[in-house]
Symmetry: C2
Subunit: 270 residues, 2 copies
């Protein structure tokens, strides 16, 4: 049974996990140091708890307690009940969805263990935008991609904005982080994966014509530059989403990374 | 040859087209009244001009004049050169991409004329988010959808945010607005289109198994509620994007509207 505690000051040290949520750099170091991440809103908190992440604490307001009762009741963690003003004073903005939870990170599986259980994998190289990472996890989960593999520098799926945009899908798709970028694809090959590099280059093989081997990994590059030339050359095959010739002439010849990922996941699990 | 004019005050009436860009309601009525819309940034302005929209004026800063010289030179419209502070004073925020252009709207084609020239059509019912409308136009353009048809209440593709998110694709895909919602699909049927209602309902026909007739129109519903029951029932066939059974169990069983639209366009033009 969770302990319900009223907290009246935004400076109360028990609220430190929730400090300055808009300060990306501060949050990154604070979350890494303490091994925590935040989930926002009733549904997302529910999914994080269901996925087994240990709850450190919950921050909410009086009027949201009831909606969360069934999630909070079995918890061991403290539930801090504060006014809207205190939430804003701590977090730096109004939290509209009623609650924040601070959860403990769990150790990610080694890449080899992740790949051993998967058949269709998405590999993200150096995506920098947390919202895009979250949106891509949402696509991967909904469409049935088995696992996501992140390059060493790819943005954190458990950062608050990733979690939020993913609607909790970051808890549903197993993922791991590569320890090395340069020879990152070697491990995929060793696990029997055919690696497909997604590129806007229209001379690549169209996604829907590609021979999807028993195990296939789709490589997706960063927002601006796409895949590194290293990975493009190392991959077994370059693949593309066919673009309209007319659009190419008009210069509106690209999809944003989330739209491209959605189509790629759809084609990958077909 | 465009006339280059220095303007020093944010209250100068010649800058009225650019007033308070963040005030959605004000902008909607102002733009409707004057029959104008705004394009932001060099690339997007370039595409709007190339698409034949008449330029009312351009607002820029001294250091961006050179980058736009080839676009501005042939224009008849005045080019107002202001300081960064004046831009901010007028628009309400810093314009990072160097320039804004005020352009005249042109009359949209009647639905029948639009449909007569198209084979693959996307129909948007009551989408409210300008960014989503822009992102969907970008997908439609890149993938080669012939035309977009908007329900009477669907958000404006020429609103600043739609234009920006679309990267100018709103100028590349012909579109029209239905005059009526309730019997809106009748006109599509009359033009020989098979209407396909996209739904998350997994008992509908999977998109990739649907018989795409000579002419097919894909109906896409609003962000929260999806398609109206009226349109769902009036459509020739309900279609879905197959979701992972596992994701359904975990409750992460939906795509956002842009991801769904991207996949739907991809499947529609296959």
């Amino acid at each position: 049974m969770a302990e319900i505690l009223d907290v009246t000051s935004p400076d109360d040290p028990r609220l430190d996990d929730y400090t300055r949520l808009r300060d990306v750099e501060l949050r990154k170091s604070l979350e890494a140091e303490r091994g925590l991440f935040l989930a926002e809103g009733e549904k997302v908190i529910r999914r994080a708890v269901a996925a087994g992440y240990p709850v450190r604490s919950v921050l909410t307001t009086r009027r949201w307690l009831a909606a969360l009762a069934d999630v909070l009741d079995p918890l061991e963690a403290p539930v801090y009940v504060v006014s809207e003003e205190v939430v804003e004073g701590v977090a730096g903005f109004q939290v509209h969805r009623g609650a924040l939870a601070s959860l403990g990170r769990v150790e990610l599986p080694p890449t080899a263990a992740l790949l051993a259980r998967a058949r269709r994998v998405l590999v993200l190289e150096d995506l920098v935008d947390h919202g895009n990472v979250g949106a891509i996890f949402r696509c991967a989960a909904a469409l049935g991609v088995d696992a996501v593999l992140l390059s060493p520098r790819c943005a954190d799926p458990l950062y608050r904005r990733s979690v939020k945009v993913s609607m909790g899908a970051v808890f549903a798709v197993p993922y791991a982080r590569m320890t090395e970028w340069y020879d990152g694809l070697a491990e995929l090959r060793a696990a029997g994966f055919r690696t497909l590099a997604l590129t806007p280059d229209q001379s690549a093989a169209p996604m829907d014509k590609v021979d999807l081997a028993d195990r296939a990994a789709l490589l997706l590059g960063s927002e601006g530059d796409g895949l590194s030339s290293r990975w493009l050359h190392e991959a077994d095959q370059a693949v593309c989403i066919p673009m309209s010739a007319e659009a190419m002439d008009l210069g509106v010849d690209s999809l944003n990374v989330v739209a491209a990922a959605a189509i790629a996941c759809y084609a990958l699990v077909r």
